[in-house]
Every structure is written in structure tokens, then in C-alpha cells.
Amino acid sequence: MYARTTRLTHREQVGPDCHLLEFDCPEIAGSARPGQFVHVRLTGGFDPLLRRPFSVMNINPAQGSFQVLVRTVGRGTMLLAQSEPGSEFHIIGPLGNGFALPGPPGEVVLVAGGVGVAPLIFLAAALHQPDNYRYVRALFGAAIGGDLCSWLELSLVCDEFTAVTEDGSAGEQGMVTDFLPAQLDRGAGCVYACGPTAMLAEVAEQCRRGSVPCFVSLEQWMGCGVGVCLGCVIPTRAAGAEHYQRVCKDGPIFDAAVIDWEAMRRGCGPG
């Protein structure tokens, strides 16, 4: 875990409300693993006060830089989207557990919704490294084609790639989860998913029925990002004092089987 003042080196709009941002930080670029995130302070002042978490989308250790994919949803992300290259941001990272690598044997299925694609791009890239090699099939869904940000990056590190849009403006028409049964039928060693809670709940349910191990990247509002405030918990099914687990420290990657999806669906956080 490092805390560094970093420089924004590159900013690129990659969707109607989506930007790809690159930061200089050799320490984070040299140590981040897929599924981990960074915690970014957006101003030197108090508006907004708290840091914001973003998944690492990829690293370039040689160049000492890493990238995040940011969807503009409020004041903090707007400040990021409007920042000029050269601006400085104080960033803490890498944080969180990251995906367990290598996953269980067998082909891997990725299910991405919207900017949830970011950690899966990093994961897919890792799964195409010689040491961890897995055959990777990816499903990537969004409302409209324009929201399939960075689909090219994802498709380049996967063996099979299916885009799905609700309006059919790109790829298949429907919900991304409509296309998961076929993937599971073909056999899958493991499913990794990141996206809106409703999507994750459906992915988890299909995997449970199909007895396929499933790992999801979850979101929750964060105070500290490092495990001390106990603010970012999500409900799990484990008994006793472990009932609530911290997204920032125990996650953000969780075995879908331990999550209390009933409670998640009732709405206990952002997504």
C-alpha cells in the first residue's frame, strides 16, 4: 500500500460519460494485481471530502503508469473527467484483495457490465500471461453501444468476446445475463463478474444453479479504503461476527457463494 501524489498523464473520452485516465505512479504500477483498486483524493479541499475508489484497469510497470476507467456519475467523477493532464492527485493503492490467481482449472468466463469491465480487462490480461494462462470467454453488456467503453481492450485479451446491448445497437440484443446460460452450458471452470448489483445477483444465481465457482467485484461507499472505518461492509452469509465483510479489505472480490444476495437486492449500497 502506497500513498503518493501522482500526475495525470493522459485523459481520453471513451464513451458518452466515460473517460480513460492514466496516472504516473511506479509503486502502484509495479505492485497492483487484477481486482485491486486505488483510492483517489479529488481536491485539496473538502468538496468532495472523501476519496473515491476506482478499479485498476491495467498497469504498465515499465513506464510506471496505470490506468482507470471512470464513469461520470457525480461531483467527484466530474472533477476527474474535467482534469487536465498534468494535474496532480493524491492516490492510495493498490488496495483490496484482488482476484485469486490462478483461478480454478477450466475455461474462464468474464461477465462485465458497463465500467465494471475495468478490473476484468486487467484480469483477462493476467490470464493471458504464460504462467496463469486460461482460455477466456468474455460477455460485455451495456445499455447502448456507446457505453461499451474499452471493449476493444477487453476483446484483445480474450479468446472469445460477445458484446450485448439492451437496445441491440451493438452486438447481441438483450441483457448480458441472457447469454450466460449458453456459456455455462459449454462448461466453465470459473466465472468472474463486475457490474451493477442486479446483474451480479443474476450471475451468482446462475452459477449457483450450475455449480460453477463465481467471483464478483462489489462496490460500497467507502470512508477510509483501508479497513479501519468499517463503513464499506456488505452482507455475507457466514455466521457470527463475520456476517458483514469490508469491501475495501476483505474484498472488493468476493466468492459469490458467501454473499447474502437477498439483502444486496433490497439495496444496501451504491449499485
Binding site: 500513498a3 472523501l50 483501508v226 479501519v228 463503513g231 456488505i234 458483514y244 439483502a263 449500497g269
Partner: protein, 309 residues
């Protein structure tokens, strides 16, 4: 004045701190979590997350949300319970090399007494902080902290069973902070700390329901600084006990305001989340301020702003 010549030590009813800057309860875990980012040994001391007799899971999520220059939390005193605390957390806490203040909370007088008795047997604790002010659980002590008689009763009961220094942490959600502080003093508290969080809430207008699962939460952060400072000021006029001031401190300017208002030491809470290194900056900047102003001992500034009024 030459650099490093400022005496930053302060004395809290006999507990000597190397400097007046503490990490506040609930915002610094059990001392080790920030080790990568903070030179913990340079702090004046740390206050641990509130401990209860039995382990507690805390409140359902969402537990926090952001507000203008502040945040609401309704953690609900999630903690492993006192046995696990003594067994799993105290060993590392003892190694930090700074005074460790243990924050305790309960539902009944008996809870506080049992906690105090058990922790008195434990090595390495500099003081107990009685949390009479957690707004987020019925068992959080706030029903004590908003009532003079109950405050005095619980403090006196704890006083009976422990030789440890006793700090009483006061709730700001009261009409008259001075009378509660006096009651704590009458009960035998050695030190008073304040403020805990202000009760607040936020509503999600899309869902038409409170954002926090607990409905209300405690407001902390810069937004509350003026209220906290005023309460420290009022309390300092009413009691002779040393005070630990907190609430929205993010800089040496804030910290010095609390000291000049009458706080012997200060604690930093929410600001740790925003800038983990902030406590170190505050200590350094207090030292620089004293050098520039020719102040030999920070203790000389305690309550200084009262003289002028």
C-alpha cells in the same frame, strides 16, 4: 527559536503525551492498519475503536454517506468483543510505543463496569475512554451521555473498579454540554473528551427512504468543527478537568483553535480517511507555529483565547 526547541509535551491528569495529537476512536482501527502510511510512533497517542463486552456485528449497510464537508456514519460499534480485543489486538498495540487509550461502550452500567474491570487487568493501557455518546446503537451509551444523572452514575460505578485514568467522551447532542461534563467530573472522570458525532441523516429522494440502513448516523468531519470548538470552549469555562478536543480537525490551524479554546490534547478522526498522513503534518505545523510565535511550550497555549475575552 531554533527548530525542534518547542516542548510539545502535554499532561493529561498525569498521563504525559509526547505531543497533543491523538488519533480518534473508530478512525484508526487498532493501531496497525495505517502502519504503511503513518508513522504511528510519532503520535501523541491512539484511541482504539469502541469495544463492547460481547462481539458485535454492527449495523446493516449502507453505513456511511458523504455530506457537505462531512460524512455520516452508523457503524453500530462493530467490534470483536473485549476478550478477542485483549487477546488479538492488545499485543500489537503494546508494541506501538505510544500511549493506548481504549474506548469502551455498553448498554448498562454493569457493562461499563465489567469492561473496565477486565481491562484494568490488561497491561499496556494508558487510559479508558468511556463512550457515553455513540449515537448509532441503543447500546452505544448515548442515553447515558445526554443525561447528567446517568452520566455521573456510570462514571462513578466505573471509577470504583479501576485505577486506570478515566476519560469520559461526551455527546454534542445536548442542550448544555457543561452540565454533562460537570456530572462526569463529579462521577470521578479524570479527563473529558468531546465531541462525538452530531446526529444527522440523509434521504435518497429516488428511493424515498433514508440512505443509511440505520436511518440516522453521526456527522463528523470539517462541517462540525465550529460546533465542536464552541462546545470545548463552553466546557473549558465550566470545568477544571483536562479536555481532549475533537470534531472536524484537519490541520494545525484547527488543532490550535481547539487548544486555545481550552483543550490540552486534540484528536483527529475523519481527516485520517481523507489524508492518512494528516496527524504527522499537524504535529509538524504546530511546532512551526510555536517557533514562529516564540512559544516555548505548547502547554502554554491551552485556553489562551479565553484570556482575551
Amino acid at each position: 527559536m531554533a527548530a525542534g526547541r518547542v516542548d510539545l509535551r502535554v499532561d493529561l491528569a498525569g498521563l504525559s503525551l509526547a505531543n497533543p495529537v491523538l488519533a480518534a476512536s473508530g478512525t484508526f482501527g487498532y493501531g496497525t492498519e495505517y502502519a504503511d502510511l503513518v508513522e504511528v510512533s510519532k503520535l501523541g497517542g491512539i484511541v482504539t475503536k469502541g469495544i463492547t463486552l460481547a462481539p458485535r456485528e454492527g449495523n446493516p449497510p449502507p453505513r456511511i454517506c458523504e455530506t457537505p464537508a462531512g460524512m455520516l456514519n452508523a457503524i453500530g460499534l462493530q467490534n470483536p468483543g473485549v476478550d478477542a480485543f485483549v487477546r488479538d489486538k492488545m499485543p500489537a498495540l503494546r508494541e506501538l510505543g505510544v500511549p493506548v487509550i481504549v474506548n469502551i461502550a455498553g448498554e448498562t452500567v454493569a457493562d461499563y463496569v465489567a469492561l473496565a474491570a477486565q481491562l484494568s487487568e490488561c497491561d499496556g493501557i494508558a487510559a479508558l475512554e468511556l463512550n457515553l455518546s455513540c449515537p448509532n446503537v441503543k447500546q452505544g451509551g448515548m442515553h447515558f451521555g445526554i443525561d447528567c444523572e446517568l452520566t455521573q452514575t456510570v462514571v462513578a460505578a466505573v471509577r470504583e473498579v479501576t485505577e486506570l485514568l478515566l476519560i469520559t467522551k461526551l455527546s454534542p447532542n445536548v442542550t448544555d454540554i457543561a452540565e454533562i461534563g460537570q456530572a462526569a467530573g463529579d462521577g470521578g472522570s479524570d479527563i473529558l473528551s468531546l465531541i462525538n458525532t452530531l446526529l444527522g441523516m440523509t434521504i435518497d429522494i429516488q428511493q424515498r427512504r433514508p440512505v443509511l440502513a440505520n436511518v440516522t448516523g453521526g456527522l463528523s468531519g470539517p462541517a462540525i468543527q465550529p460546533v465542536a470548538l464552541r462546545m470545548v470552549w463552553e466546557l473549558a469555562q465550566a470545568v477544571d478537568l483536562p479536555i481532549i478536543g475533537m470534531g472536524g480537525i484537519t490541520s494545525a490551524v484547527d488543532a490550535l483553535q481547539f487548544i486555545m479554546a481550552g483543550a490540552t490534547a486534540i484528536a483527529v478522526g475523519t481527516a485520517n480517511f481523507v489524508a492518512p498522513g494528516v496527524t504527522g503534518c499537524i504535529i509538524k505545523d504546530i511546532e512551526t507555529f510555536c517557533e514562529e510565535q516564540g512559544i516555548a511550550r505548547i502547554a502554554d497555549l491551552v485556553g489562551a483565547a479565553h484570556a482575551e475575552v
